[in-house]
């Protein structure tokens, strides 16, 4: 037995909508027109939330804020596949997922205003508090999945994190443990290609993030993260697999951070305008609009209505958030 081939592996890439918004019908997920429209509304809501949060920060009405611009498909598409009984472990840049799951918008803003009361998740949602220590939420998802398995609950767990988080030991340790116990957890990496100023190739020499799953004995798939239908399909499949006892899945949603890392950052210091322009053309909202427009389901006028509704919702939420009384010092000891 000389230099025997021990094993051969393949990594797949999933996309449903191409850049022009035309769909591969064979891969089209089962979604009603209403559902797709709802997805569209949620992406627009996320975009409007984001734009407002950035401007509130500029006006000194919010603290440092990490924009999600460009990642709406990855967030809305994946959260749309979740059931109420599933558990979600976010990082700090998944406001699109929160909005999709119905997290109260005033409370979501309140967090970035520096108020712990924001993290008191409503009782009907199983969304963990934001996690600022990059990657450290990933093992929690594994623990929740262990509990689900032990309880024989019909639920699954989703954990979100960025490309930068894949460099941390927590990512590895959690992936490895999920593999060993074949747990009902879906690891969703939003590969937005930047971790503050560090581009993906400064983060890992691995050609894809998806292939990292090979070291843990379960499937890793790269998904076009700006294609909401692909993200939805991949997440739904992974969740069903998880709930059926067939173990974990790793999804790399390849997307792009279109804005600065946070409102305290200036991305112009470390990346080119050309790169940003290229990805602006791949805007996930634009792509779904093109898809819808092709069947006459979207017009600029309808788009404006959706946006106006979103803005009105945000307006109200901002008002509510700002009307909340300042926390009392006694709340330091609350919990």
């Amino acid at each position: 037995m000389p230099e025997e081939i021990l094993a051969t592996f393949q990594i797949k890439r999933l996309s449903v909508l191409n850049e022009n918004g035309s769909a591969d019908l064979s891969l089209m997920p089962e979604l009603s027109a209403d559902e797709i429209w709802r997805m569209y509304q949620l992406m627009v809501l996320a975009r409007c939330f984001d734009e407002r949060a950035v401007s509130l920060q500029r006006e000194g009405r919010l603290g440092t804020y990490p924009p999600i611009r460009g990642q709406e498909a990855a967030q809305v598409g994946s959260a749309f596949a979740l059931k109420a009984s599933d558990w979600v472990f976010p990082s700090f840049r998944e406001m699109g997922a929160h909005l999709t799951l119905g997290y109260p918008i005033p409370q979501l803003l309140q967090y970035w205003g520096g108020d712990e009361r924001a993290q008191k998740t409503p009782p009907d949602l199983n969304i963990f508090p934001f996690c600022v220590a990059v990657g450290s939420q990933i093992p929690h998802a594994v623990g929740a999945a262990l509990a689900i398995r032990y309880r024989r609950d019909p639920a699954a767990v989703v954990v979100y994190f960025g490309d930068g988080a894949t460099s941390k030991g927590d990512f590895h340790e959690a992936m490895n443990m999920a593999g060993v116990y074949q747990l009902p957890v879906v690891f969703i990496c939003q590969n937005n290609q930047w971790a503050i100023s560090v581009p993906l190739k400064g983060q890992t020499a691995s050609a894809s993030l998806a292939q990292k799953a090979l070291g843990y004995g379960f499937e890793g798939v790269q998904v076009d993260g700006n294609d909401i239908l692909a993200v939805y399909r991949a997440t739904l499949n992974a969740l069903e697999k998880a709930r059926s006892g067939a173990g974990p899945t790793f999804l790399e949603c390849l997307t792009y951070r279109m804005a600065d890392h946070t409102t305290a950052d200036d991305a112009g210091r470390y990346r080119s305008d050309e790169e940003v322009a290229l990805w602006s053309g791949r805007d996930p909202i634009l792509r779904l609009e093109r898809f819808l427009a092709a069947s006459g389901a979207w017009t600029p006028e309808q788009g404006r209505v959706v946006k106006d509704e979103a803005i009105a919702l945000i307006d109200r939420a901002v008002g509510e958030m700002e009307a909340a009384p300042h926390p009392s010092p006694a709340e330091l000891f609350d919990g």
């Binding site: 594994v142 623990g143 262990l146 060993v180």
Partner: protein
């Protein structure tokens, strides 16, 4: 009542509580099939199955991180770290997550877990097997730190810890695992967390100790009119017991096997200097290990506080 050693007492507490409460789940390295490197969890996997007594991959931070997720979901996980010297890599999960979860989610999520780990020196084991870094954990808001000093307190404190709504670090003095046998009631009993124990009455000096140092202190104070406090809970401190004793004796000596600088002795002395100052007739002395890493076997006896150093401190404060 049976005469049990500490290994048996802890095993019994775990078994009883698992039988009583199906939320209690153990996880860690080698604690299932092998029954733990000190056999503390012996027989539990056989009895409760591999889903409740989980042999994990070799990874302390994942053990702790998974425990956080389990606790938040509604279980009462009991992660074991094989030796205290391997808690470092689990530190972020404990500090930034387990201990804060209730506060930062304003009560929406809580984290009732009990981290068990053997600690302390004098067993002639390899590097990092004899650490005593309890002070670091006492600096974590939201985490309770508990140390039994014998089989009876081990069972009673562990049962209380397992029912506490918040995270508890339960330190097991390795040197005592099989050293002391005591009467241990078979049924259910709890020792309230946050309460110290008067291990010996006296009126001339108060000696504060915990874990395996307690046994050493009790041996050393023979012939002295010393009151000995067995702390049992390191955080929060039982101020009432400490102050009552020092107000009576006017003198305090603190003995611990951790290094001196920023050890828990500092917190106790500082508290006395703040709250009992007008009752003190002598400097507060700390008898501790020197500020160097825990040595290997050949020098461990020179490192740990011994009876000579404890008595010298007593003699010194009694001069006042």
């Amino acid at each position: 009542m049976a005469q049990l050693n500490m290994v048996q007492a802890i095993n019994q507490a775990l078994a009883d509580e698992m039988a009583r409460d199906d939320r209690v789940v153990l996880l860690g390295e080698d604690l299932g099939r092998d029954g733990g490197v000190f056999r503390v969890t012996e027989g539990l996997q056989e009895r409760f199955g591999p889903e409740r007594v989980l042999d994990t991959p070799l990874c302390e931070s994942a053990i702790m991180g998974a425990a956080v997720g389990m606790a938040a979901y509604g279980l009462r996980p009991v992660p074991e770290i094989q030796f205290m010297g391997f808690t470092y890599s689990a530190f972020e999960q404990l500090f930034a997550h387990a201990a804060r979860l209730r506060s930062r989610s304003r009560g929406r999520f809580s984290c009732p877990l009990v981290v068990r780990t053997p600690y302390g020196g004098g067993i002639k084991a390899p590097e990092l097997h004899e650490e005593s870094t309890e002070a670091i954990f006492c600096h974590i808001p939201g985490l309770k730190v508990v140390v039994p000093s014998g089989p009876y307190s081990a069972k009673g404190l562990l049962l209380a810890a397992l029912r506490d709504p918040d995270p508890v670090l339960f330190l097991e003095p390795t040197r005592l695992y099989r050293m002391i046998k005591e009467e241990v009631p078979e049924g259910d009993y709890q020792l309230e967390l946050g309460k110290a124990r008067l291990a010996r009455k006296g009126s001339a000096v108060t000696v504060v100790a915990w874990g395996s140092m307690l046994e050493r202190v009790l041996k050393s104070v023979d012939g002295y009119d010393a009151e000995v406090i067995d702390l049992l809970t390191l955080n929060p401190l039982d101020l009432e017991t400490l102050l009552a004793s020092v107000q009576k004796t006017g003198r305090a000596v603190i003995v611990h096997e951790a290094i001196k600088t920023c050890g828990l002795g500092a917190e106790i002395a500082a508290t006395l200097a703040e709250e009992a100052m007008l009752h003190l007739r002598a400097p507060i002395l700390r008898v501790t290990a020197p500020d160097v890493p825990v040595p290997l076997a050949k020098l461990i006896d020179q490192y740990l506080p011994g009876p000579d150093r404890i008595r010298a401190a007593l003699d010194e404060v009694l001069k006042y």
